[in-house]
């Protein structure tokens, strides 16, 4: 045992599997999930009754749902609104945010509306939308857009504003045209923040997609939720929610992956600054 207290150089340690596991976040997530699932199972068995299914029942119902045509039809219909609505949010929101970030005067006009979009409880708009646009795909698309566009606009605006002014001056000194300043300096510089806005926007878009179906038009996934609730089919109700959560998580992970890939430089810079 004296070896442990020996002075002088020590042999390099082999990479320790346990230590590497402790460094990753997945084991912790698995651990909390196991505790959560066990707690759920115990509670539902003891005091659950008709309305709260057990964890195992929920898993079984989820698997059952994944095999049913009804769910996939609902997914298809719901995601139409998500894809269109979020697509519009990105296509409109990114340029809008960039322009607002570059031209301060415009921002004075737009600021109040952005704040309204940020703080308004969106559910309150739904009756207005129904009255003016109707119950079709259009109002679901609009609601998804309204839900998600704020995140995209605000983050794109911040991104443009964060671009170091000395980079713009540098580009001008090398004869860059206004267009080159946009394409070679402002847009690449704002990209990390734009990607963050897209990731945050995806989460809000999924929320919007479900809320509009719950409150306004009971179709698709929202319709399924309402139907299973009405029929007291608690496991299927929970299973539907699990599937929606899974989709949201998947979309956000994809967005985060894209963010990391496209903006590796920004992460090395922040890591350096944090040190």
């Amino acid at each position: 045992m004296t070896a442990a207290f020996r002075a002088g150089p020590r042999p390099a340690r082999r990479p320790d599997v346990l230590r590497r596991l402790a460094g990753a976040s997945l084991p912790y997530q698995l651990l909390t999930f196991t505790v959560f699932a066990a707690g759920w199972e115990l509670y539902a068995r003891g005091w659950g009754g008709l309305l709260i299914p057990t964890f195992t029942e929920t898993v079984a119902a989820t698997v059952e749902l994944l095999g049913s045509a009804e769910l996939w039809r609902a997914m298809y219909v719901s995601n139409q609104a998500l894809v269109l609505g979020f697509g519009i949010a990105v296509v409109v929101g990114v340029p809008a945010g960039i322009v607002l970030g570059r031209f301060r005067l415009l921002e004075r006009f737009a600021d109040v509306y952005l704040n309204i979009l940020l703080v308004t409880p969106m559910a309150a708009i739904i009756p207005l939308l129904m009255m003016s646009v109707g119950f079709g795909l259009a109002s679901r698309v609009i609601l998804v857009t309204i839900f998600s566009i704020v995140m995209v606009v605000v983050n794109s605006r911040t991104g443009v504003r964060q671009v170091d002014p000395s980079l713009i001056e540098m580009a001008r000194s090398f004869g860059a045209s206004e267009r080159q300043i946009w394409t070679r300096v402002l847009l690449p510089g704002a990209l990390p923040a734009i990607m963050t806005g897209i990731r945050l926007g995806v989460g809000r878009a999924v929320t919007g997609m479900v809320i509009v179906e719950l409150l306004m038009v009971s179709t698709a996934l929202g319709g399924l939720i309402l139907e299973y609730r009405g029929l007291f089919k608690a496991p299927l109700l929970y299973g539907t929610i699990v599937i929606i959560l899974a989709e949201a998580l998947l979309l956000i992970s994809v967005a985060r992956w894209g963010e990391r890939r496209l903006t590796r430089w920004a992460q090395t810079t922040t890591a350096r600054n944090a040190r």
Binding site: S173, P188, W265, T268
Partner: protein, 275 residues
Amino acid sequence: MGSDDYGKERALIEIRGLGKSFVGQDNETVEALRDVNLDVGENEFLTVLGPSGCGKTTLLKTIAGLIPWNDGDIRIDGTPVRGPGPDRSMVFQNFALLPWATVLDNVAFGLRMRGVGRAEREERARSLIAMVGLSGFETKRPGELSGGMQQRVGLARALAMRPRVLLMDEPFGAVDEQTRRLLQEELLSIWEEHRMTVVFITHSMEEAVLLGDRVVLMSARPGRISEIVPVPLERPRSSDVGALERSGQYVEITAYLWDRLRDMHEEHRPSKVAG
């Protein structure tokens, strides 16, 4: 002292009656430059020295064509300055590198803005990268480089344009002392080999004397040229900087500059009675 005692070579940069003022934060007019007259010879190395707020950076940016001025006239080889041009390129105090671009793309940036084709600009960029001693770092990004290496990239980017005038705005002010000395020696040896006109802003007396053919001393509020001090030290200087710094002439000029700078600081100390 006049500004035309540099009669050895003809003037490439002619500045006549230059005045520049802007509105400051409290709505007061700040006179950044007043009646600046200066001739810079072809292939001369001119250093500009002065206390902070003396307008030396403003002077450099007007020559670069980056900011407009109120009175007077700047000509490069007889042509009035109307904006940035390919005959001048600039090295920035904070490096102003694009953090998302590789060393190669950063060095080639100016060439790209000027419409040089990909093959040619990369070839030129690579040879400049070799000249500043960064071969092997072509694919690294600025975040992975030390401050000294980043400024080598900034220098290579400027030299890649093959400018007639190199404008340097306290380029070594943001790096540590040892790196600064290495960069100074390298700049000297590059300049001795590829002669060009250099206007070099600094707040270091030693740097001004070590590098310059003449030192322009500026005073603050309003920013104007107070004196132009010739530096008759022998060239090439890069071979033995240490011996140069121990020479009587070097010590004498540096001491003289410090005397003058101290007078300027005292003038602006309200409590001190003159004489």
